[in-house]
Symmetry: C2
Subunit: 463 residues, 2 copies
């Protein structure tokens, strides 16, 4: 709670300074705050966002800029004079700069890249050349490298010389004359070693590296499984190109998470915060899937039309239609979510389909039986309270409902669990087998299952 | 791809060594591999999991153990002789040990804690005293601290003396005589400073810390917003208790993500990998919500019963029931997922409810109109192909379907977006307003909306 109080204090001070319009004092105040507090100020006072960035020491401005939302970043760059934008973009770490640029329209990227110094421009163009969601887009070319024959003292000299601009010095990289990655070493091991020791005496030969074309999600897994704060990035010839730091992984995880969730809810990935995305764009992201699902769902009207005569003969059948199909949809949503989630965190691979299927057959039977029994009891209880409602054949109606529920739930569970695996096999993102998608798929089949059981139990009685 | 080849090589070598049964060679081989490769070996050869752990240098065994699944960890501890278990548990970093223990039954925790050395036991008991999902459970008491009056040379001496057991030396903590946290300093700044400088000359007074009772999700946000690899943890009196490192955040994010996803799919959080959880437990996690939803959904049968006479008079009305209610469910799922996701990543707070509502009213109207128009066209087209199907009042039926769709989609969107916010306001986890939950909620209302429009358009004609 004290954090919120602090924020209130900061806000108050900021308002007083803004009222005084003393630029120097504002600058001093801003440079005195934590990066995250300044970002919070920008959230609170969007009108001053460009001013806040412009009035900070440039390396701190860059640190704040890189943790802002893309919408805020765009606004700021639009408002800043282009000399200041140039300064800011040149100061931004290469990975964060690429991250910002890739969200912009092509023309805007071109204009902004012109503002960069030749060296930074070269780096940025190279990074933008790597596929989206690849490690190449995340890497930073500023790291400290040494050679295996260096001594510990030489390593410290190198760090003092080049460490200031490096993204991290927690890990140092050893390369050979060709630029190939030999090993990495943690700064702790350098500090703990005697000054006269040579690097090749203290390295352990166990290096974990990422390929520049690796998927970012893969990088996330590698970080999780190896206790490192940074990993080296190499090309196909093992040439060291840059490093990726673990803090980027928190953002990757966050983004993956948001995209997966949104797809599972039956929307395209927004790629922008909900409250910032223009309404028309939000509509576009949603309407596509909704229309596809709606057209798929139209088959239910066709299926119902096919069973129209049966419904006319036994209106009672119509009463349970929503209950039956929604049960299939719910069990399908459960199953698909479980499998998508397990696949997303790497617990299940395509090869496991058979194990999943076996588990889901049992689960589906059990779940279906529970709902089937409750459904049958529901019919029985209502019959005993209102004897007219289902008539003399209430028990057969109960059986129809009960067995349909077993069939529909089993079918929902199976299709919900197999669909994500099948989509992945075909090379699609399993997350698109969203809850609504599975529900729609199950609805039509659910009707057929239901009316089939109705024939079985009620032919000659009501039908 | 070369990674997978490497793994094949490792597997082959391992099989040969196992066949030879030369313990020393196995130990050498294992100590030569990366931590993550050994973890992969354990995945591939579960029969040898305890042997693999037992045959490694103990600090490496601990590093492997901490990245395994809880199910594997349990198996290994069950199989290892208790002397080896004691060694392993004492070697595990305190945070990973707590993480493992908290998943076990109370009796097992008691037995294992007895195996710990007095010092480690004290730490573990203290950590287990903090609430689940609090920062206290993640922290590590092994860090390097110094005093503000120390010189840079003294800092290096301290690191050489105590750094070996510290989880990280990338950040060093400055405390005062009372043990209160004064500041933190990155090792890079120490290395770059002149040896004779005093610590208080190089610190910047900007320290970001976590409270031991803070939520882990909050910690994740703080890490994302502040460029740090470790954060200090303090109690309410600002006494430094331990540190949390950023790699733990990847696991926290992963866990939060899995839990949220599972809840949104209408399951309780599994807390175990899908393929490892016993089938009966999996069933239990799923059946609860499914039954609740089913009982809620029974109201549709009641509602349908209420409109039974209308259906008898105009069977055609029954045909569109699944289409109408599923459209409400789909739009509701979309809206609820978007809002839950935005709340999970902190883009939306409860205070934003009014902004969300305004956006969703417009979105719902737009989306509903699109589906409504398609629905009307569907009726018209079918009528022109099969003139008998809807009879002379096809246009009124089309209006009923079209306007119902607008109403149902708008209602779905509004309830889907407001429910998560409302649940959060009441102190519940918004993720439980899962797609199935919203769909169920919308189904009953959808029927009422549909039959109301039917009255409006068809009274005196078909009704």
């Amino acid at each position: 709670m004290s954090l919120e109080l602090d924020q209130l204090n900061i806000n108050e001070q900021f308002e007083q300074l803004i009222a005084k319009e003393d630029k120097l004092e504002i600058k001093e105040f801003l440079d005195d705050q934590n990066i995250s507090d300044v970002a919070e100020l920008i959230n609170e006072y969007p009108d001053y966002e460009a001013q806040i960035i412009a009035n900070m020491a440039i390396h701190r401005a860059a640190s704040v800029f890189k943790i802002l939302d893309i919408a805020q970043q765009k606004d700021i760059v639009k408002e800043l004079p282009s000399s200041k934008t140039a300064e800011l973009l040149n100061e931004l770490p290469a990975d964060d700069r690429t991250d910002f640029l890739e969200e912009l329209p092509k023309a805007a990227i071109r204009d902004l890249i012109k503002l960069l110094d030749p060296e930074e421009r070269k780096i940025t163009l190279a990074m933008l050349g790597y596929p989206e969601d690849s490690v190449g887009r995340l890497m930073n070319p500023d790291y400290v490298y040494i050679y295996a024959h260096n001594t510990v003292t030489e390593v410290f000299d190198t760090i003092r010389k080049f460490g200031k601009n490096s993204e991290t010095i927690d890990v140092i990289y050893i390369i050979d004359q060709k630029g190939e990655l030999v090993d990495d070493i943690r700064i702790r091991d350098v500090i703990l070693a005697a000054p006269g020791k040579r690097v090749d005496e203290i390295i352990d030969g166990r290096v974990v590296s990422l390929n520049v074309h690796d998927d970012q999600e893969h990088a996330n897994q590698v970080f999780k499984m190896n206790n490192r704060v940074a990993l080296p990035v190499v090309d196909d010839n093992n040439i060291l190109l840059g490093i990726v730091t673990i803090d980027d992984m928190l953002w990757v995880a966050n983004e993956e998470f948001s995209e997966d969730m949104q797809k599972m809810g039956g929307t395209e990935a927004l790629n922008e915060p909900y409250l910032d995305i223009p309404l028309l764009k939000l509509f576009k992201k949603r309407v596509g899937w909704l229309v596809v699902l709606f057209i798929g769902e139209m088959l239910t009207a066709t299926a119902m039309g096919y069973f129209q005569d049966e419904i006319a003969k036994a209106i009672v059948l119509a009463l349970f239609v929503p209950l039956i199909i929604s049960s299939g949809g719910n069990s399908g949503s459960q199953a698909s979510t479980l499998i998508i989630q397990a696949m997303a965190v790497g617990e299940i691979t395509i090869q496991d389909w058979w194990r999943v299927l076996r588990r889901e057959i049992t689960s589906g039977m059990l779940l279906g039986s529970v709902l089937g029994i409750i459904g049958f009891i529901r019919v029985g209880v209502w019959h005993s309270i209102f004897p007219n409602i289902y008539g003399e054949h209430w028990m057969m109606i109960g059986f129809t409902v009960g067995f349909s529920l077993i069939g529909v739930v089993l079918w929902g569970t199976l299709s919900g669990s197999m669909l994500p695996i099948f989509l992945k096999r075909l090379g699609f993102d399993p997350a698109v087998s969203s809850a609504p998608f599975v529900a729609t798929l199950v609805d039509v089949t659910g009707l057929i299952i239901y009316f089939s059981f109705a024939y079985l139990f009620l032919q000659g009685l009501l039908l």
